[in-house]
């Protein structure tokens, strides 16, 4: 069972623990959270976020315009070469982060919201609600995630909104399950029972007692899933089910280059972009998990 940050284990080191968890910008080197890999991951994420935010100023060219000869290998003028239409790969890569990052956050946020509500209801109310919600989740989970997403996106037609919708539809059950299992243990805790006995209405009990104490695992999951969302979005675009061309999207860029792998730069750089950001989110997620779960944190430090 998941160990929750707010109960027993945290008591002995309560003060420091709480500070670290809440202040991500805390001083370096004070705790096990700031291992080199974590710092590098955070660095990569920050760099990508900055690139996305300042893309119009950072990108050397317009990502949609032909700015050079077709399929030029990397050179001084085009650091990552040009694609089939003579568009600058570096510029498209930078602009691509403007799609991938916000969309990944949107996918995870929506999934967390939907999955959270379903999971809370299932865990808190139990019985029929639990049965119906969890069988529904099982139904979705029974399909391979990417196949289901493809089917949904193909049915709705290719566009940014539909790709996000498709990915939300396939990923909410993960959150629902995690939240449900936390809620199941939290709702039996004495303070929740006591609150109910004292006449706290259901909604207040959920908001005040249950949510704050069962959200931790889902937040860890979200961080890891951010990477996964980027990956799945790229996969859908690769298959032609993502944003419409000529949008600069990493998956679509890889698909374009895959027609002729001899022009390696067309596919390689967007591939590296996905690799770095997905790895960074995964490592960060691991680090947060280790940090919030003192058992594994202690195991690592020793």
């Amino acid at each position: 069972m998941t160990i929750l940050p707010s109960d027993r284990v945290a008591v002995s080191r309560a003060s420091r623990f709480r500070r670290d968890r809440l202040r991500v910008g805390g001083s370096l080197g004070t705790g096990s959270f700031w291992r080199p890999l974590t710092v590098i991951s955070l660095g990569i994420i920050v760099v990508w976020c900055l690139l996305a935010a300042f893309a119009p100023w950072v990108a050397p060219y317009d990502p949609l315009e032909t700015v050079g000869d077709n399929l030029q290998p990397p050179s001084g003028a085009h650091w990552m070469g040009t694609d089939d239409l003579g568009r600058d790969v570096l510029s498209r890569l930078i602009w691509g982060s403007r799609l991938s990052l916000p969309l990944a956050v949107a996918i995870v946020a929506c999934s967390l919201l939907v999955g959270g509500i379903v999971g809370l209801a299932a865990g808190y109310f139990g019985k029929a609600v639990d049965n119906v919600a969890m069988r529904l989740a099982d139904l979705v989970l029974a399909f391979p995630q990417i196949i289901l997403a493809m089917a949904v996106a193909a049915a709705f037609g290719p566009s940014v909104g539909n790709a996000v919708l498709a990915l939300v539809i396939v990923s909410w059950p993960l959150y629902a399950r995690i939240i449900r299992s936390s809620v199941l243990s939290v709702r039996e805790q004495e303070y929740v029972v006591a609150g109910r006995m004292l006449g706290l209405p259901t909604l207040r009990s959920i908001v005040k007692d249950v949510i704050p104490n069962s959200a931790g695992p889902a937040l860890v999951m979200s961080t890891i899933e951010l990477g996964n969302a980027i990956l799945m979005l790229a996969a859908l675009s690769f298959l032609g089910l993502g944003p419409r061309p000529p949008a600069a999207e990493w998956g679509a860029m890889i698909a374009l280059g895959s027609q002729n792998l001899g022009n390696w730069w067309v596919s390689l750089f967007p591939g590296l972009a996905i690799l770095t950001i997905v790895m960074a989110f995964n490592l960060l997620g691991d680090a947060i998990q280790d940090h919030l779960d003192p058992r594994s944190r202690n195991a690592r430090t020793r």
Partner: protein, 530 residues
């Protein structure tokens, strides 16, 4: 750079696999060409080797080598018919009857003479089997006069008869042997023909090769026909092997023996080493069709908009995207075929002219949707092509929204006729350019899908289309096609963009490995060592 990219491009497993394939197939490169094996790399699209039902590319290649047709084409040229089983042919003055006189020395691989009866049996069987290729011979009647004369009649004048009879599906079978195996040319042949897959194990033709073995997933092996009535082919054995498109470039680049590859795309062919020979002919045109139904779009049905969009097309730039052998489109007929417009007539991009047309017509800030199939055709992603069209149109102030659709969805939406602009490739069913008129004249099938009815069409387009069909001879029709295209470039809702080439890549010491748009891709029997 080239060797580095090749190494990076293909995973180690694929390298091992292709080397193994090349190893077992390339084989003995001795000096005596007569004992040599020719290896053909192609991505298999084959369902049958029965001439009556063959339709797919790989099947057509093999059938063309196993069987003979009455007439044929040589090399890449599909403008002049050549004699094969027929030594001469002539058209009646009213255009409805064609008479073919057979040569007397042609024999099947079992030594039996090829007679008019065999030809009529084969052609009737093709017609009555009602397979995919049967469509082209509907409306034709075949009759034998004596042993050496085949008479083909058509209810309406049909100058394309010899062209149709050159396609692999019109191959002549040994009718006596075929009947023994259960084949029939009866009208109910579609249900009563009992030959099944027997023609996939042994061929019954008079062609330069006979079938040795057939495995629809791995390879087809042909050996020279010892009783062939013509000149023996240079290679005694031909192995057609299934190599997927991505691996063909590597396989042919590393080929040790005599080898050809059939599915490389234009951009890939452009990167090959100079040791390899590339033969390509631009035979597939790509065009936009703009919906003429004002209820669907007030913009695309506006003649001024069509003219303006036509002026934004950068044919040279598009041809560059298609790579080796591709050309800008002067008209709707690709340059491989008789009746194509000369390249001096290639349109020139005129953005200012386009802007002026739009301004004069009061069209400002126009936005139109372009629907296209999300596929890779001949190694070129169609999305790349339409993105270029979009870029160029934008320079003249036309905003195009691209909508990719899976191919089946696209075909469905295209036939419903509700799309503003469609984009698709177009190949001819048989190499007669006037066949385009059957589909693209006002009120014809393709035109109706874009709302171009007889009522909405300009009279000049109707007249030009009628002028083509009024011609009774192939020469006359090809001539009329020139004028037809001029008119179509003025008043039709079709905008020809560029022509893409089919490509055959051959190792350096081969001759005769020419790509042909005639339907069989390459004539295997014409390939020889230098």
């Amino acid at each position: 750079m080239r060797s580095l990219t090749a190494k990076l491009a293909v995973p180690a497993g694929a390298v091992a696999l292709t080397l193994a394939l090349a190893g077992c197939a390339g084989g003995n490169s001795t000096s005596n060409a007569g004992d040599q094996t020719l290896t053909v790399d192609t991505s298999f699209v084959v369902k049958t080797l029965d001439p009556g039902t063959v339709y797919e590319q790989t099947g057509n290649i093999a059938v063309h080598a196993l069987y003979d047709t009455l007439v044929t084409y040589e090399g890449s040229d599909v403008t002049t018919l050549q004699p094969e089983l027929a030594e001469s042919w002539e058209q009646s003055s009213d255009g409805t009857t064609w008479t073919f006189t057979l040569r007397d020395d042609a024999v099947f691989s079992d030594g039996a003479a090829v007679t008019a009866e065999d030809a009529v049996f084969s052609l009737n069987r093709l017609k009555n089997l009602q397979g995919s290729a049967s469509q082209t011979v509907q409306g034709l009647d075949f009759a034998a006069e004596g042993d050496d004369t085949v008479v083909v009649t058509s209810a309406t004048p049909n100058p394309d008869v010899p062209v149709i009879l050159a396609m692999p599906a019109a191959s002549v079978l040994n009718s006596a042997e075929a009947k023994k195996l259960g084949a029939t040319d009866a009208e109910d042949a579609a249900t009563s023909d009992q030959i099944g897959t027997q023609l996939d194990t042994a061929s019954l033709g008079s062609g330069p090769y006979v079938l040795k073995s057939y495995d629809p997933s791995t390879k087809i092996v042909l050996t020279a026909n010892p009783k062939y009535w013509g000149e023996q082919p240079a290679y005694s054995r031909v192995v057609i092997q299934n190599v997927d498109v991505q691996n063909q470039k590597l396989t042919i680049s590393k080929a040790k023996g005599d080898e050809i590859a059939l599915d490389l795309s234009g951009p890939q062919a452009a990167e090959l080493s100079d040791d390899l020979q590339v033969s390509g002919v631009a035979d597939t045109s790509y065009f936009l069709s703009l919906n003429q139904d004002p209820a669907v779009s007030a913009v695309t049905s506006n003649p001024a908009f069509i003219k303006a969009l036509r002026l934004t097309v950068d044919g040279e730039g598009l041809a560059k995207l298609f790579g080796e052998g591709a050309t800008p489109a002067a008209g709707l007929v690709p340059p491989a075929f008789a009746g194509a417009l000369d390249e001096s007539e290639n349109p020139v991009q005129d953005l200012d002219g386009a802007k002026k047309l739009l301004a004069d017509a009061g069209l400002s800030d126009v936005k139109v949707a372009l629907v296209y199939p999300a596929i890779t055709y001949r190694g070129v992603d169609l999305g790349t092509i339409v993105t270029k069209v979009q870029q160029d149109a934008k320079k003249a102030g036309i905003e195009i929204e691209l909508t990719p659709q899976p191919i089946n969805v696209f075909l469905q939406s295209q036939s419903e006729g509700k799309n503003e602009i469609n984009f698709s490739p177009n190949s001819l069913n048989y190499p007669a350019s006037s066949s385009l008129v059957n589909n693209m004249a006002p009120g014809a099938s393709t035109s109706l899908r874009t709302g171009w009815t007889l009522e909405r069409a300009d009279q000049s387009a109707i007249d030009a289309s009628n002028a083509v069909t009024a011609e009774l001879t192939p020469e006359g029709r090809n001539e009329a096609m020139i004028e037809w295209q001029h008119v179509m470039n003025e008043v039709s809702p079709y905008i020809a963009l560029a022509n893409n080439a089919g490509i055959v890549v051959a190792t350096s010491d081969l001759t005769g490995a020419d790509y042909t748009p005639a339907g069989w891709t390459v004539d295997l029997a014409a390939i020889a060592g230098k």
